[in-house]
Point group: D2
Chain length 319, copies 4
């Protein structure tokens, strides 16, 4: 069977290189375009030494050139605001698009790419808006509660590795500023708050922090219920809700940690403890670059191109 | 003027060695007892290389021997449960006691040693229960709100460096487990919850996490108000409340971080942002071993022995 | 084609779990024995959360039981000293053995399992002594110099992540001791010194350090030549020496770092700079748990069982 | 007694702020000038949160204005190359100068400011060239060997925290690049090599590395002797050499680590082990910002202004 042809625009950022890494091991696609304006012609390994031996090079094709390559799908891994026109132009050329910026997350032109909730829509989509990393961790941790009702307040207190802030050297990702530290930021007005809020009923608050780690997000969800709630029932609800979802695991007695999900497309959910004030704590973890970005984008690609949803994303061979 | 004589029992833990370090620079006291059962006779520098050159050695005096040394005050820096009898015995010998375990934090025999709130009582006390590290960060961040009323829920989501879990090697403080990770634990039933709750009106929830850092606690307080609240007014209230308190700083536009308070007795408080659901976020940071343990204990000692409250704890000479 | 059957004894350590992780993705084998005395019946994910969803459980079969399972090969991942008798017994049962301890590294009963040098011997071996992690990094960095002659002294100054010291909590792997630190140890008498020395001509010195990182070794080799040496010629020599070796990459202008090799079986070599005192610096990096232990063991297994040497170890599909 | 007046030019870098921090606690001086071109008028705490409460602000006086302030001494903490003219101009105005760049380290106009070797010259100097951080660690570790003779080669393999690379965000100090990594650089041609070499007899090689830590340098010195050498005698030689030097400690059985010296002006030296090839390993550690820069500069200032050499630099009060 012939391979699907795909490309990445904005390939030199963390999301782009994570996409490239996964695609190099994906059996049903070949990577034809690896666009990075500023790195054209360079070996990827010059920037990311883990690519040594791959031979992979950055390209810088124009949209016209891309149009002639018969690509099936393009990933846009550019800064917020840059994808709008490019996405439309590619779609007009008959190429499916997965945009990893926030540009289409509130748009009716795109399907919101959280495959655990919207897989049917994604299968038919020409344009998918890949969710934000925080939004992914928060929504996976909270969405099943829609069925319970009686929720007064969702408070998402999130902790992220610093790769979420991008590759460009700054005061935030400076080792001198971050090691032996933790940084709270955008306490009440982060761009991911409305992205989460649009899918939940009830009050929603969201506060992010950067921790001294590279990759991974922990979402500590504090849910305030109107009245007494049965923790075991809630846990069962989650187990049922995600029973058919390969990439979401409801943990037994242990709590989710970053080590469980790093460099994988999995989301771990656990906790489900309630205190006397009817506050329940649910904890979820993902890798912000995988399930929170590139991994999820591949999962969306698999659905859009008719492959097995898990292809290229499993840690182990199927038994 | 003759120096006050003090001692530490349980001196080889992180709290004990931090106490010793501060006392070596304190002008009004001399350290006479540095008891560590398991390290008697050893140089402190064998365990803590930053003590090289101090000449300081661990002792192992009996309570009887300690009784004959005319000590003014003893710090108990032992595991929870061990201090109860020793404290009483020392007080009977006429020695004032500051206990850093949780043993007397709910007891009428002791004064709760949070000097920003209870300095008058501490001045007269024979036995002070030094607060827990989390409780200190949480109470300093929340107590002024007592004056506002209309609080429905305090949710304290705390992040601590791993020194809070003690010095003994374990799976929690193993570098292999903690680096590039974050661990949530005791989501709703931590021993510090009732310690915090006893001083606040309203629902109180508390969830701690361990981050890959040695020293420092960040408390992210999510307060849910019954109705619209004016963030600027709340901030003014805090500024007034702590205006005479040397060790609590209300930050201007920047947010508290661990780097601001590490190896010092200061607490930084900031944030005061409100979202549309009347949820306000207030952030506080302390060093768990200083303001959260040993530094606060020295502050209490200063009050109990009639010294300037700040002695031995200022970072710079007074201008 | 039927799969080869393999087992791991001592499976709960870092080396054992890394072996298990690779084997779960290896197409030509099935993992039948995963012995851990202390964890029999437990899910591997209870200890290593990244195994969540694998369903893998620790076993504790006796050697007799193992003998009846028709295994083709067993990995011994036990502490030094424990493998001697077990290896012999397994071989007598007709099972090939790869021992990852130091027990057979100086023994004529075993082939030294550095496939870049001894692949022909390994293919025929019943018992392979898998090299030490430091020895692997040092020998790959130095062995091609045998051809140049005129070497007065090899000084290997190595820096290792702390996983090399094992999983058991200790003062060395305590986050409180290691973060923001570096530890030199066994300055001149490490057990890996003779292991390296047996394969090199000239004086050999070796000094290891533990750095605040989990995985990876950097070997900084200082070679003192008797007379002027041409750096470019030396580099060419290395390129030729390793031209057919998939897992050893001679870097261009960049220097090896841990990020280039972590969680992979690759060794990166670079540097080749000479100063005025005829001292050349060559730098190599490996992942101590992969090329320094489990990955190399799989490479040896592939040779011993007649598979492609690279199977299960490539980061990407072959183009 | 009136206080000496001092200033810092280039105050917003790591060296400048460390100088400011020490000077705020120094009893014999007052800090009158804290020049930072780009931060004039800002509170120091806006950049360094640990200065919260100090009230300290950056200034931007011209050299003329500085000339009228009757300063006794100015520290130049500017990038290499910028100090040359400024230093001369200040000296002409009758102000003593300590330059922390490399500009005068090879110049006859200045005294090399390593007080353990040149205290008499420093006392009389108008211009002191403060040594490089690596040079300090290396020279303190090696200089006493001048007396032994028979040294063929000094190989300094150094490991530094990343603050040595300065405060400006870059690919080197990016947390994403440095965490779980170690970087070798300038393997044979670092600017500190001639700085070290000018004071030693014998071949000198020097290779630096950056480790994932903020502050501290470890120098692992490999000395190759011409013939058999007695380790105990060498150690005794060091103990005698430094017996009167407060800030250099020869350790007993333990090895130097960064934790022993961080945020202090001390240098720890230990090791003194020899192997069969007459290679001895000596390990030294300093804090690159203290003994390697600002602390040593204060030590030089104390000598130049006639204060006690240790003033403002001791960790504890004198007993």
């Amino acid at each position: 069977m012939s391979l699907a042809k795909v490309g990445i625009i904005g390939a030199s950022g963390f999301t782009g290189k994570t996409l490239a890494g996964i695609l190099l091991g994906h059996k049903s696609v070949e990577l034809q375009v690896l666009n990075s304006e500023s790195n054209e012609g360079k070996l990827v390994s010059e920037i990311y030494p883990e690519f040594t031996g791959s031979g992979l090079k950055f390209t810088n094709y124009s949209l016209d050139e891309i149009g002639k390559k018969n690509l099936n799908l393009v990933f846009l891994a550019m800064p917020d605001g840059n994808a709008k026109n490019i996405a439309i132009e590619l779609i007009e050329k008959g190429i499916k698009v997965i945009d990893l910026s926030k540009d289409f997350r509130f748009s009716e032109k795109a399907v919101y790419g959280l495959p655990e909730f919207f897989s049917e829509e994604i299968k038919k989509a020409k344009l998918v808006a890949n969710p934000g990393c925080y939004a992914t961790a928060c929504l996976l941790a909270s969405k099943p509660l829609d069925e319970t009702g009686g929720i007064k307040h969702f408070i998402f207190d999130c902790k992220s590795g610093v790769s979420g802030a991008g590759k460009k050297p700054s005061n935030v990702n400076n080792f001198n500023s971050l090691s032996e530290n933790i940084l709270a930021y955008k306490l009440t007005n982060h761009k991911h708050l409305p992205e989460i809020g649009q899918f939940l009923k009830g009050n929603v608050s969201f506060t992010p922090h950067v921790i001294p780690a590279i990759q991974g997000i922990m979402c500590t969800l504090h849910v305030i219920f109107e009245k007494k709630v049965d923790a075991k029932e809630v846990k069962k609800l989650y187990e049922k809700f995600y029973s058919e979802k390969e990439f979401v695991k409801i943990l037994g007695s242990s709590l989710p940690e970053l080590h469980g999900v790093q460099k994988s497309n999995y989301c771990h959910i656990g906790g489900f403890e309630v205190d006397e004030s009817n506050q329940m704590v649910i904890v979820s973890t993902i890798d912000n670059l995988f399930k929170g970005a590139a991994g999820q984008a591949i999962q969306n690609m698999n659905l859009m191109l008719g492959f097995n949803e898990n292809e290229g994303l499993l840690k182990w061979k199927k038994n």
